[in-house]
């Protein structure tokens, strides 16, 4: 059975020392001193380690089942869900007006990593509910909010997002689900939705489906999509549950991973629905939540890497095989632990450097969302919009890769189900696909976000990196050569890539689109490089001040140095690929494949 230990120490370092939450002017942050953080994260850690993690292989093995329309979650899930609800973990960053605790999103994000690492399939039930909560909170009427939100905050009721149909996922303009007005102001929703996570299950009393559908007078394409609330059970005015609505689960998807989560075919047969926001503005309503939802998926990606890494380390310390070529390390044993071998180290350092860098990136991103939402900070909103596809695409690609590396550390044991590593690989794989495939993320980045507001946000990002380098240069020679110089070089590669798009993308947009995926990764590396420089600088400062755990801080700096020396140079190859343009990519006719 895999192990899991929540990274509370690392999270507190990031939140309190690097991001310095409590010194920021964001509402709700001031009270978040170190002790409070420690207490919140410590409690979450207990739930993650003791309740959720042990259920992860159970959920994978048992999966969900559908019988007579009823979806059963794996044994133990309902009880764990109750514990999560009762502990208030589903309400962390929700609006106090509807029973939420009003904590910052960044804190909920830190907790979310733990829950995702411990049991991704399980945590999705509340994750989806939270997404639906957000959409209703932002776009619903006061009546809708009052009716649905309190029970969604407490997760007595679940929530879902219904976008995909059998013939369309990425291209939502093609959806066929219809919404026909009823006499009472409601709508009759008819159509089929697929791949609906948590679409039906036995852990909640009601499920509030958010469904994209087209009104009879809808314009063509994405501009004709409206958003509807379709409750599984109708809700009476007094809040009690009424009739069963005409929405049913028609099947469960058999899939590579996240077996503990029910991925449903949902059939709407004239189900009663209620318009959210304005007609035909459903995409906008759905996409308001996109930054947060996609950041959540980026988090899932690296969170699987994080737990896989822990298991790889445990194995590498325990398994003895071969001898250290520079001198025997375990003379009393038949062989040395494999962690002595440089190639095992290389593998573990790749995992560690990515995971910790990704954690910083996501928490930084979450703090931008807090700033955007709570301070109405347009600059933060612009920057997180730009970085969201990077967080989603880069962190899930690399997170998956990290689970594969961790599996490799275990050799043959990594391939067996017994050790659990292969589940992390299978579960992580979906994060590269859902909530917009990573290819779509790269298009969003290059096709939309780069040029948004006249390129202001990407310029702002470059400026930020430049300032960081200028502000810290010349104070510590090792920091300059090990952190600032590589960061500068990588950032130059990113600018050169952007320049290439500007110069050649006008002539032929395919010159930009052929390089979009590499650009997303190039950008991701620069972000992680910046994160590592910030973390290392903070660690150096604390070390110099004699403040904190010296071993932890030294390790942090060494891990950052590894990232800068061994991962960041990847930017040069990404640039080279980008600069080769569209010709090699588009040379063939479709028939030649």
């Amino acid at each position: 059975m895999p192990i899991y230990t929540a990274p509370t120490k690392d999270q507190v370092f990031l939140l309190d020392d690097v991001l310095q939450l409590s010194t920021q002017d964001i509402p709700g942050y001031a009270d978040l001193d170190r002790e409070t953080l420690d207490a919140i994260l410590g409690e979450a850690a207990k739930l993650a380690e003791n309740v959720l993690a042990p259920l992860n292989p159970v959920g994978d093995e048992e999966g969900c089942s559908l019988e007579n329309g009823v979806v059963r979650t794996p044994k133990g899930f309902k009880d764990a869900f109750d514990q999560m609800r009762e502990g208030g973990w589903t309400a962390l960053d929700c609006d106090p007006e509807y029973g939420g605790q009003g904590l910052p999103y960044v804190v909920a994000t830190a907790v979310g990593e733990m829950f995702s690492s411990a049991n991704m399939a399980f945590n999705m039930y509340q994750g989806l509910t939270h997404g639906a909560y957000n959409a209703i909170h932002a776009h619903g009427s006061d009546e809708q909010k009052a009716m649905y939100l309190p029970k969604m905050v407490s997760c007595e009721w679940g929530g879902t997002m219904n976008l995909t149909e059998p013939h369309c996922g990425t291209d939502l303009g093609l959806i066929r689900t219809k919404a026909v007005p009823n006499d009472d102001g409601s709508y009759a929703i008819t159509g089929q939705k697929i791949w609906i996570s948590a679409g039906e299950h036995d852990m909640v009393d009601n499920i509030i489906h958010l469904v994209l559908a087209k009104l009879p007078d809808a314009p063509e394409g994405v501009k004709g999509i409206s958003l509807f609330i379709v409750p599984k059970f109708m809700v009476n005015e007094d809040g009690s549950l009424g009739d069963r609505n005409a929405v049913t689960c028609g099947g469960l998807e058999s899939k590579m991973g996240i077996h503990g989560n029910a991925t449903c075919v949902m059939n709407y047969d004239g189900a009663k629905g209620f318009l959210v926001g304005e007609p035909h503005k459903g995409m906008r309503a759905m996409f308001t939540m996109m930054n947060e939802a996609r950041l959540g998926v980026g988090l899932q990606g690296y969170a699987q890497g994080a737990v896989a890494y822990q298991n790889a380390v445990a194995f590498a310390k325990d398994r003895v095989q071969g001898r250290d070529v520079t001198g025997v390390k375990n003379p009393d044993g038949p062989a040395d632990p494999i962690i002595v071998h440089p190639d095992v180290r290389r593998n573990l350092m790749d995992q560690k450097a990515f995971t910790e860098g990704a954690r910083a990136f996501v928490l930084w991103g979450a703090s931008m969302i807090d700033r955007a939402h709570r301070n109405e900070d347009a600059q933060a909103e612009g920057l997180i919009s730009l970085l969201t596809p990077v967080i989603k695409g880069f962190l899930t690609d690399k997170g998956f890769e990290t689970t594969v590396l961790a599996q490799q550390t275990l050799g043959g044991s990594g391939f067996t189900r017994e050790w659990g590593l292969e589940q992390f690989v299978r579960d992580a794989r979906i994060t590269m696909i859902y909530e917009g495939t990573n290819g779509i993320q790269s298009l969003d980045l290059v096709g939309r976000k780069l040029g948004q507001d006249g390129g202001k946000h990407v310029m702002g990002f470059f400026e930020m990196v430049k300032s960081f380098i200028a502000d810290h240069k010349g104070q510590d020679e090792a920091f300059d050569t090990q952190f600032l110089d590589p960061l500068k070089a990588a950032s130059k590669d990113l600018q050169a890539a952007g320049m290439y798009f500007m110069q050649h993308g006008m002539k032929n947009p395919n010159n930009a689109l052929s390089g979009s995926y590499d650009f997303m990764h190039l950008f991701g590396h620069v972000c992680l490089g910046l994160m590592w420089a910030r973390m290392a600088w903070t660690a150096k400062g604390k070390l110099a001040a004699g403040d904190g755990d010296a071993e932890y801080l030294t390790t942090k700096i060494a891990t950052g140095r590894y990232y800068m020396a061994r991962q960041l140079p990847m930017t040069a190859t990404h640039l080279k690929r980008i600069e080769s343009g569209a010709d090699p990519v588009m040379a063939l006719e479709a028939e030649a494949f």
Copy 2:
């Protein structure tokens, strides 16, 4: 259900045009004209496409079962195995003295790709038998050969390789299985072996286990290991089967993939065994076969990529979603097929360029093995020894990556079991692990092979690349800039990496070992670059001569150009990682992880 079409056209191009088999001085090659090749490969294709491929998802879904010591293979496997045997496919390159067809190994390799792509788990049953055949053929006594080989050639009997024990895999010096001499010249074998592919099953009448064990007087470590034949049923002098031997399957491994292959725990309880070759020389006997066995795993890796790619292409041509930004391509449909989108192209080209390059590399490698075995060509033996870890490590890493890319092409469908892509991913994953993990391959390459015979073989490789460039330079400007220049640059990176190891590895071996994995990949890229240059040159020559299918040849050149422009530049980053040395990798104490 996934599709599969055997790549016979591509294989004939490689065997006949690029490698020019029939013009070579290798015994058995002269008869291999184009028609003969077409006929052999065409027949193999039928079996692969019509019989093996349809059983692939069946094997995955059903898996193997163990009941009262009997292992049942999935439904349909036995019948398919009979068809494979009866078609003579198990005997292709075997010694005619024992019933083999005596065809070159390179031809068996081409057939092996088809069978592996179609059904990897299934093909392993005969693959393992072939490995055991090889070991007995090379090291067994005449009596042993006469007794076991004919039925192993026909696959009426199976064969296995028993190396790993619960506490050791990589470090075989630690094995505990004992061989105690009996009075009759045989040995009593006692111990437990794990992860034994095809260790027990219901498709053959007998199974000939090759088992590594220690004699009572054995020296410590790998120099004290002997190799034994342990038949499941004793074989009487007349060839009939006698008593059941004391070897039993104690359990089946539950694993991520290759469910159709029985991965067995094998218990030897004083089983009767027969020494193969000399006492204490078992490792040498086992390792004689290593080049071939590891090449076979490299083949499995890219073969999974190859079939996954075909399915990705089919999906990308069929699925309509979004519009080509440069102009609508499918005006009568609701959207364009996704193959119009540059990022989908990028993804498909990555798959295609790798797969075809890998196919060339493996066939070239197999022809070297033919030359080494049939012409006793020491140079070929040296070169293939050097390249074997590259073939195994690089092609399985990239082959797995290719299955992941192909899965990504399908978006959400790639994650569902229904489309079969996720099975290719899960099956391909083992190739990076077994037959020596890829980390071990990289150690073998850098720690042993580079310096072998005074570095003669790697020097020979560099010389070969240099000569190729010199011989072809200045005849075709596009070829120079698109193929020769990138090849030269990549080869320079490889030489620089070798130089770094020489200069810094003496001082501290960890400077070399920390870069071994990157070196293996760097080397792999240079090999594929060389393959692509050779293929493109051949294609250009045929085009100029008006010989062959112009569309196929033009596509080949364009695919090569993609590899050179977009994949090969990876060598620079590998070099940079290597040149960062051991410090970043080894900075932490084991406790700091």
